[in-house]
Amino acid sequence: MALDLTLTVENEIAKITLAGELDGSNAADFKTKIEEAAAAEPQKLVLYMNDLEFMASAGLRVLVFSKQKMGAGVDVYVVGADEMIIETIEKTGLHHSLIIQETFA
């Protein structure tokens, strides 16, 4: 299953776009991207998920990792995720640590 990941950092905002299917086979790539983003020491991390079709538990693990890696002072946004992904995030309690939005202005 394919996952496309792109990272940009502008004005102390790191943006990662995810497209395709995030599962156990590629979660490590996503994790590496988070690490790259963290190295830029941004003020915010924005994860664009508009084109993410599926996220397995391995992906949720990386979301947990993202919050822990960025630290308490950095807000992590999940943007444009579909309802099933948001529901899973909510049911597992991750929404307390992440900011879930439809768009990022």
Partner: protein, 706 residues
């Protein structure tokens, strides 16, 4: 400096290996790999079996090299595993000799007793593939949940108000009005936290949530053809794993996180989580049961066996876990420590706990090491430990359970006494003991009132509505010719068996329910109520609904509207208990005035003030609590007077007089119609006649002096 312990020293085919760490047992992450460790004292060899998730056949089998076994523990690090996508098990070889107690069979893949996640039953009620070579599949769990500042609440035991519930039953009914995907799950409980808060309970006790197999002994209902399940789950498959089928996210393997998220949210709302844990037996059943785990790993260590090699059955479920074997003690302790530390669980209720005090041949021990170990364990130090102080082998220890200053007990004698009293069948003398926190059972051994978990109903037996609607059990739907379930229900149908339109009978039933709730909430000790009793839940006279995944078990939330008077009354009684520390004493009454208030801490009355009738045929009792003695005189509270009349006619009660300046106010009068049957704290009206009052037939009145 670079670590050197991250490098493999051995290989097996494509797998890179290294000698493992024998402790801890189970599968744990180590740098670069996963450490697998498992105990068996009688196996001659052990093989790790690796599957991709859901795959019918393994992708690898790695025998533990001889040099990787230390003592009776096989341990091995396997490097470069895709730990998100694997399931694992073990094959064990060794003697297979029934009489000697050995059941080794290397053809079977065995579940790790320490598995933290178990796959294979990911969605509730999905029939399994019976040809699967490995049904319950161990997976590797992560401990990266973000707890933020959460920790167990450590509510004082006497301040608890427990609500016993079943995860699936609580929200499965469509009337629960939550998202369909959340119904019957941990997420569903989270959705209903506002309800639990409104009701006022501060602890939920969950019927078993460890992974169990709802298909264990499943069968068609002989009448309807509907599948009958192992619905309640009192039959553990894995002691460390939450039931996947109880998680809306079970299909993603995220049950650990979902359960933790539920606990965290409940804690945020001041509600503790107690787990009903079943260590007396396992899902492997008797000689004809399946081999899942223990039986194939070390049968003789884990189970109590007769000299002929059969299973002792003190649990009534086919086998008995050998709890006072040091190895088994170890797994129980590891398990509870794990749930307390990893899931922030606040307490445990032990099913048929008397079994935990038996020796390997079944004899009760005077100083059972497991019970002692749990009582003094540093990690469990603040957890509530509650025993169901009897077992199916006839050991009944209510009042005598080895407590070590820590253990509480489901007080079966409280249940029986209150039920009998409500139908005017017991002496007021015994009632007086139960209302005081059963000092006759506990005070002599230095055990506090909170030792007594007071309950009138529980999952086992009638609901409160059924207790006042049926004289006998009606368990036909279980398909066992109504032979199952208890015959000792101490119930009374109020004149008609089952549902009726008769207004008089229905009014009497509501009054009896309110009497029960009122007495429960003014008793010293810890009140525990059964899910749905606050809204008049019925199981239509079935007192043993262990096998029904249907409306017999699912809570019908429409009852909240239908029986709103019961809900409002219960809510007010809970608030009343919370508002009055004199109802939640930390030590037993002394029946004397030790603070100089002019009143004893508790005083007993009858239809005449200061003159209780203790005769065997007395049908009324009243008592007064002096607020200046609240919590041993350390807290100031109001005076409380409770009069209860179980006679079939109204009785005039003379009321004890308060100190000058104070007046009696009416908190509750079950003879009155709602909403005048109870009041919110602070709004109680002044009692018109301060010298006496008429207490209606089969009614209870609670006054507050302020």
């Amino acid at each position: 400096m670079q670590r050197i312990d991250v490098h493999p020293t051995h290989t097996h085919g494509k797998f890179k290996l290294r000698r493992g760490n024998p402790a801890p047992f189970g599968a744990t992450f180590v740098p670069g790999g996963v450490n697998f460790s498992i105990f068996s004292s009688h196996a001659t060899s052990c093989t790790l079996v690796l599957f991709e998730k859901h795959a019918p056949k393994p992708f690898g089998e790695i025998p533990f090299p001889d040099e990787f076994r230390i003592g009776n523990v096989y341990s091995m690090i396997v490097f470069d595993l895709d730990y998100e996508n694997i399931e694992y098990g073990y094959r064990m070889d060794g003697p297979n000799n029934f009489q000697e107690g050995h059941w080794f069979d290397k053809n079977k893949v065995l579940l790790d007793p320490y598995a933290k996640i178990i796959g294979g039953r990911d969605v509730w009620g999905t029939p399994p593939d019976w040809d699967d070579m490995y049904h319950h599949r161990a997976r590797i769990a992560f401990d990266d949940f973000d707890w933020e500042d959460d920790r167990p609440l450590e509510i004082a035991p006497e301040d608890q108000i427990i609500y016993e519930m079943h995860v699936r039953s609580f929200t499965k009914h469509q009337s629960s009005a939550i998202k369909e995907s959340h119904r019957g799950t941990f997420a569903g409980i989270r959705d209903k936290i506002p309800y639990l808060k409104e009701l006022g309970v501060n602890a939920i006790e969950l019927m078993p949530v460890y992974e169990f197999d709802e298909f264990e002994n499943s069968r068609p209902n002989p009448t309807t053809g509907e599948t009958l399940y192992n619905y309640w789950g009192y039959s553990t498959v894995g002691f460390f794993s939450p039931k996947a089928g109880y998680a809306a996210t079970g299909k993603f393997g995220m049950q650990v996180d979902e359960l933790k998220a539920m606990v965290k949210e409940l804690h945020k709302n001041g509600i503790e989580v107690i787990l009903d844990v079943v260590f007396n037996h396992t899902a492997e059943g008797n000689e004809r049961g399946p081999t899942i785990s223990f039986r194939g790993i070390d049968n003789k260590t884990y189970y109590m066996l007769t000299p002929e090699g059969y299973y002792y059955n003190f649990s009534g479920c086919g086998n008995t876990l050998n709890c006072n074997n040091p190895i088994v003690r170890g797994i129980v302790l590891d398990c509870l420590r794990y749930w307390a530390s990893e899931y922030h669980i606040d307490g445990f209720r032990f099913d048929l706990a008397s079994i935990l005090g038996r020796d390997p041949w079944g004899a009760p021990l005077s100083n059972p090491p497991l019970l002692e170990t749990l009582a003094f364990d540093p990690i469990l130090a603040k957890c509530k430990l509650i025993a169901e102080a009897w077992d199916a082998g006839g050991l009944y220890q209510v009042g005598s359970f080895p407590a070590y200053g820590r253990w509480g007990e489901w007080n079966g004698k409280y249940r029986d006494a209150i039920r009998k009293f409500l139908k005017a069948d017991t002496t007021v003398g015994e009632m007086a003991q139960r209302l005081q926190g059963s000092p006759d059972l506990y005070e002599g051994a230095g055990r506090a009132p909170a030792t007594s978990i007071n309950f009138i109903t529980a999952h086992d037996g009638f609901t409160l509505m059924d207790m006042v609607s049926y004289n006998g059990k009606h368990n036909e739907a279980n398909g066992e010719n109504n032979n199952d379930g208890s015959n000792d229900n101490d119930s009374w149908n109020c004149g008609w068996e089952g549902e009726t339109d008769n207004e008089y009978i229905n009014a009497l039933r509501h009054r009896q329910i309110k009497n029960a709730i009122a007495l429960l909430m003014v008793s010293q000790g810890v009140p525990m109520m059964l899910m749905g009793d606050e809204m008049g839940r019925t199981k239509y006279g079935n007192n043993n609904t262990y096998c029904h995944d249907n409306e017999l078990n699912w809570l019908n939330w429409d009852l909240l509207k239908q029986n709103n008077d019961i809900f409002q009354f219960t809510k007010n009684c809970i608030n009343f208990r919370k508002a009055h520390p004199v109802l939640r004493n930390t030590w037993h009454f002394q029946n004397r005035d030790y603070v100089g208030s002019g009143y004893a801490d508790i005083s007993w009355h009858g239809t005449q003030a200061w003159n209780a009738d203790w005769s065997e045929d007395a049908k009324a009792i009243a008592f007064m609590l002096c607020g200046k003695h609240a919590k041993g005189g350390t807290v100031e509270d109001n005076y409380i007077y409770v009069a209860t009349n179980v006679y079939w006619d109204a009785l005039w009660f003379e009321i004890p007089q308060l100190p000058p300046g104070l007046q009696w106010h009416v908190f509750a009068n079950t003879a009155m119609a709602s909403p005048e049957d109870s009041w919110t704290p602070g709004s109680e009206p002044v009692l018109q006649d301060q010298y006496g009052m008429l207490v209606g037939d089969r009614s209870t009145v609670i006054l507050v002096g302020k």
